[in-house]
């Protein structure tokens, strides 16, 4: 009998846990540790943030699903990993602190044969003074944040209805943020809502981003073929901004936020201030607070985790200059080299380098969009980690493990630009591979056949379909595993 422990029940961890239970023998045990009692389909938080969906439409309780699937669930926060055990416990284990109402605050040690770290990001609002729900801006990163964002949006709409002009700033709250796609989506959803409310003419909407160019999305932009020409996501995005009359401030690092005032520095070193009535700025991400210890009790966190707090896996972390990195630097199996029974997937693994070119202002401020690890790659990593662990349990060192490199994986992203079955709109994009491979695709780093973008109502239908399909899948309903990640 083998025991697999999964830390985190987001897209990566939940997918891994369900597949593990499906593939492993009945006698093997799958344990999930996650601090929240509910699963959140995060991509739809955008619609909660404009008041188009409520919390119950984007979340559901995890315990009944795990009970039905015979997966053990601990509502707890993992705090430390002991990958070689310690002087008293010979097997590897993790330390957890319970967050449910019964055991709240109590700790436990959970032993494992295989461990998956899928703890996602720590929303690092504190990196920027005044950022986030405890400061002066709103967020859509969690369903509760998104509810608060919807309330604030409603308040500015009410002011506009009373004839007051309002400035709405949407974007990212630090020079090293990722997830620009989500900020982009929220911008266009808000714009759509303002038009529906009949107050668009009283709103100035500003997209504030660390991207050097529009359409970068943290992946260095996309090049695709349209009507016989190569076009760029830059041109395409700029066109959408012009059409919807949205302004943009690019290459920005937000330094500090006061009530109604954002201080920022641009990549050219100039500093600026921006007044706002409503601001939704995403936080930078870092790894969750977790420590790692050797058998003798010494702290090996610096060896296991990158300075960003994300877990180091089978990637090239030599820190070579941006110009010299290769697609092959990206991880294949997401195992920690020193402890191959430990995997880190989804947002939890440390990317070896930026995909979008990092830049520094003359003052030395880093303006460098971090590589996004969106839903689809996170789900695929979850499935592949599950398949590999099953193979390792069955065949040990002779097992043939599969690779799930982001340099050999595509991503489909549907960025909503407004909801409504007849009036909705979305930008549908695909890219292959996510991490450009200039050896395979010398001109653009990506396949121009499999990289494309298109705007229209069909995109909204796809986004809605994905919402229902992925929640069905996450609930592990009949035939769930037939739905691709």
């Amino acid at each position: 009998m083998a025991r697999v422990v999964v830390m985190g029940a987001g897209i990566a961890g939940h997918t891994a846990a369900l597949h593990l239970k499906r593939i492993l023998k009945k006698s093997d045990e799958v344990i999930v540790i996650s601090p929240n009692s509910k699963y959140n389909w995060i991509p739809s938080n955008i619609w909660v943030g404009v008041g188009k969906m409520n919390k119950s439409q984007v979340t559901f309780p995890l315990a009944p699903v795990y009970k039905r699937k015979k997966i053990t669930f601990h509502q707890a926060l993992a705090t430390a990993v002991h990958p070689a055990g310690d002087s008293q416990i010979s097997s590897p284990y993790i330390e957890v602190t319970y967050t449910d109402s019964n055991k709240n605050g109590t700790s436990a040690k959970i032993e494992y044969d295989y461990l998956i770290n899928a703890t996602g990001p720590k929303l690092n609002f504190v990196a920027t003074e005044g950022l986030g729900p405890d400061g002066h801006t709103v967020s859509v990163c969690t369903s509760d944040h998104a509810i608060e964002a919807a309330h604030s949006l409603k308040a500015v709409i009410a002011k506009m209805k009373a004839g007051q002009k309002q400035t709405l700033v949407i974007g990212v709250g630090h020079g090293t943020c990722t997830c620009e796609g989500a900020a982009f989506e929220y911008t266009f959803n808000v714009e759509h809502e303002l038009r529906q409310a009949g107050v668009r003419d009283l709103a100035e909407i500003i997209y504030l981003t660390n991207e050097y160019e529009l359409g970068d999305f943290g992946v260095g932009g996309l090049i695709f073929t349209q009507r016989g020409f190569q076009t760029t996501s830059k041109l395409w995005t700029e066109s959408l901004f012009r059409e919807r009359n949205i302004h943009a401030i690019l290459g920005a690092h937000v330094e500090k936020i006061e009530a109604g005032l954002i201080h920022y520095e641009l990549v050219d070193g100039t500093k600026g201030m921006l007044s706002f009535d409503f601001a939704m700025l995403l936080p930078p991400f870092r790894g969750v607070d977790m420590k790692a210890f050797e058998k003798d009790g010494s702290d090996i966190s610096a060896e296991i985790f990158a300075p960003s707090g994300f877990m180091k896996v089978d990637a090239d972390y030599s820190g070579k200059p941006y110009e010299e990195w290769l697609a092959s630097d990206w991880p294949n199996t997401y195992q920690i080299p020193k402890f191959p029974n430990v995997f880190a997937i989804g947002i939890a693994f440390a990317p070896p380098h930026q995909i979008s070119k990092p830049r520094k202002s003359p003052n030395g401020t880093l303006v460098a969009p971090s590589p996004p690890r969106t839903g689809m790659p996170s789900g695929i990593m979850g499935k592949v980690a599950a398949v590999n662990i099953a193979a390792l349990i069955k065949s040990g060192n002779r097992a043939k493990v599969r690779s799930a490199s982001m340099a050999d994986m595509g991503a489909a992203c549907v960025a909503s630009a407004g909801s409504g079955l007849r009036k909705g709109s979305a930008a549908s994009m695909t890219m292959y591979p996510v991490v450009p491979d200039y050896m395979k695709f010398p001109t653009t780093g990506r396949s121009t056949d499999d990289t494309f973008g298109e705007i229209g109502l069909a995109g909204h239908w796809i986004k809605l379909l994905l919402h229902y399909m992925f929640i069905y899948k996450a609930k592990a309903r009949f035939g769930w595993f037939l739905i691709p990640e």
């Binding site: 050097y212 160019e213 529009l214 041109l235 700029e238 066109s239 901004f241 012009r242 059409e243 302004h247 943009a248 401030i249 690019l250 290459g251 641009l266 990549v267 050219d268 689809m376 695929i380 499935k383 592949v384 599969r402 690779s403 799930a404 050999d408 994986m409 595509g410 489909a412 007849r422 009036k423 709109s425 549908s428 695909t430 292959y432 591979p433 499999d450 494309f452 298109e454 705007i455 229209g456 109502l457 069909a458 995109g459 239908w461 796809i462 691709p484 990640e485």
Partner: protein, 48 residues
């Protein structure tokens, strides 16, 4: 850095016909099928 407002100002605007086609139900049904097909093809290519 390129002045972003300038580049947005000069970006190509979609024509009325393009805007209409983005909302046209029969055309969008066809695009729905076509985009799904493209996505499935891309997923197959990268799926492990």
């Amino acid at each position: 850095m390129e002045n972003e407002t300038e580049s947005i100002k000069h970006a190509p605007l979609p024509t009325e016909k393009t805007l209409r086609s983005r909302r046209n139900l029969p055309f969008q049904f066809w695009r729905f099928a076509a985009i799904n097909f493209k996505m499935i093809k891309m997923i197959r290519r990268g799926h492990h």
